[in-house]
Amino acid sequence: MSVSEIATGDADEQHTVAAATPAFEAAAARAAARRGLFMALPAYVYLVIFFAAPFAIVVIYSFATRTRTGGISLSGWNLDSYQRLGEQIVRDVLWRSLGLAILTTLICLLVAYPFAYYMTIVSTTARNVMLVMVMIPFWTNFLVRNYAWRLLLSSGGPLSSVTEAIGLGETDLLFTKTAVVIGLVYSFLPFMILPLYASIERIDHSLIEASRDLYANGAQTFRRVVLPLSMPGVIAGSILVFVPSLGAYVTPDILGGGKEVLLGSYIVTQFGTARNFPFGASLSVVLMVVMLTATVAYFRQGGRNL
């Protein structure tokens, strides 16, 4: 496609020299939209095949009936599996997962904020080193990293040796809730750091100077100026950590030993050993709705840091 074709799209040849009439501009806009769609097509196709279609199946299953043998009967549509969500055991699993996700998000926020803030004030070289440090864990397989934590946290492991050496006695964190939170915070920390860094970095430094000039001390400047202005990053990072934490399966399984049932493993159980596809599907739908609501809420309030 030549340059002039790109510029004028499929618009009528005679209009390319004459003035841009509203009709011409509309045609050009349509042509641009067509080209945009064409470029996005591979991504659309991928999402439809591997996300939209399976999700549609999950939604359909959630209203279906479980057969006696654990199969799916695509008739007799009902809300039974959604009614089961009200059961005490299910509510416990939901609340426990929610609590864990919130705790993980808060710890990530507390750890990531100072780090991200520090990244914005150091030299470019130091900043790049810090960014690489954040990214390095991604170069290793997720499972491998979780098993590494298993070794670190186990009794007689490095952490235990350290606490023993400084006289705090042996620690055995493995297969506890603490271990799960440590693992989740470790896994999702980069997702908090990066949006936070992006939003803090964007704050005009003269605003901080203005605040200092107007008699605010460091703490006041942070609370009244820096924190409010970095809110888009706080919200973006929180969603990016909260959403996967809520449905986390691998880390609670490996580091928590599956002792406390969380949403992720509960769903796996329904699709696996329990062979209750409709119930597993309804749980998944609930999880998806929570995640989508959080994401939509974020975009609604104008966030642009994802």
Partner: protein
């Protein structure tokens, strides 16, 4: 005047790594003075202002505000406020909260802070806009908010960093008058950084001209314009013709081409100097009409600027600009006319490097 100066700077130097931004400056700013720091970008004027504000700390030297040494005090402990170049209004707060910010941080209760902020907003003629966000205001309005936000704290010295730079010409001229009027009414010192020499000349009681981190001259606009301390000042302030030469005696300078012209100086004979001739102080006369003291040349271009004509006169070794007021009856000269350029002896200044 024996009163304590509002700002007293002695031997202030600021180094950033190896770069000397401000080089051993001495400066005194009197209370109630409209003081401009003028110079090209990178001359150290903004750094000097930021040191007074406490946003930079001097590497060496002493900085006093009303007699108190403030050299390394953080900004929130100084009795000064700043109007920032980009205004630096808090985008997440409305106008009222922006203006009340300093008072609130200073421990003034909310009701009082809001009342005083409203009064200040009225003073800068923005009443009714208290609930707007900065992004919803024009540049000129944002400028007033920035001014109100600084002044509401009743600073002893107001610092302004190129406050009018972002405004268009008409608005800038209005704001110049307004700022000047405000300063007279409040009676506090305004320290004003600008690279616009016209702005500095119109607004200031005194001007400090800086270049390369050094302070070249401090004086009233008239002193700076009429008696520039050196070649840079002469060149930077207004337009000027600089004719290189050497001093012959107290009243004569020998120009580069050998012409001797009348110019008073106190430099010893043989000093390399430049004769500073303002375009409006020079006259063009028709060549060969008996005036011997002039320099001969040919009119090159004629520019009509409404109230005057500006000629460029080509000499053997350089060009001169001469400005001639439009008076009824004055026959306009044309390109190619042979002329002679003359001036009164006391109309020129002799400057060195």
């Amino acid at each position: 005047m024996t009163a304590t100066p509002a700002v007293e700077i002695r031997g202030i130097t600021k180094r950033f790594d190896d770069v000397v931004a401000v080089d051993a400056i001495d400066m005194q700013i009197a209370n109630g003075e409209f003081f401009a720091m003028l110079g090209p970008s990178g001359c150290g004027k903004t750094t000097t202002l930021r040191m007074i504000a406490g946003l930079e700390f001097p590497t060496e030297g002493s900085l006093k505000i009303f007699g108190d040494e403030v050299g390394t005090l953080p900004p929130h402990k100084r009795p000064v406020n700043t109007v920032f170049q980009s205004y630096a209004l808090f985008p997440h707060m409305n106008v009222l909260d922006n203006v009340a910010f300093g008072l609130r941080m200073n421990g003034v209760d909310r009701t009082t802070a809001r009342r005083r902020a409203s009064e200040m907003i009225a003073l800068v003629r923005l009443s009714g806009m208290e609930n707007r966000r900065p992004a919803q205001m024009s540049g000129g309005q944002q400028q007033r908010v920035a001014l109100a936000r600084a002044l509401v704290n009743e600073p002893k010295v107001l610092l302004l960093d190129e406050p009018l730079g972002a405004l268009d010409l008409k608005l800038r001229q209005d704001m110049q008058l307004e700022l000047k009027e405000l300063q007279r009414r409040l009676g506090i010192s305004f320290v004003f950084v600008t690279h616009d020499q016209e702005e500095a000349l119109t607004m200031s009681d005194r001007i400090a001209v800086m270049n390369d981190g050094r302070l070249l001259q401090v004086g009233t606009p008239e002193e700076i314009y009429e008696r520039p301390a050196n070649r840079f000042v002469a060149d930077f302030i207004g337009t000027t013709n600089l004719l290189d030469g050497t001093v012959v005696d107290g009243s004569t300078v020998c120009l580069a081409n050998g012409t001797r012209v009348a110019a008073r100086s106190e430099h010893p004979a043989g000093t390399m100097v430049a004769v500073c001739l303002r375009p409006e102080r020079a006259r063009v006369v028709t060549a060969g009409d008996g005036t011997e003291s002039g320099i001969g040349g040919v009119i090159d271009t004629v520019t009509y600027v409404g109230n005057a004509r500006v000629y460029t006169v080509r000499l053997d070794w350089m060009q001169l600009r001469v400005r001639e007021e439009n008076r009824p009856g004055a026959a306009p000269r044309e390109s190619g006319d042979p002329v002679s350029v003359t001036w009164d002896m006391n109309a020129v200044t002799v400057v060195t490097e």
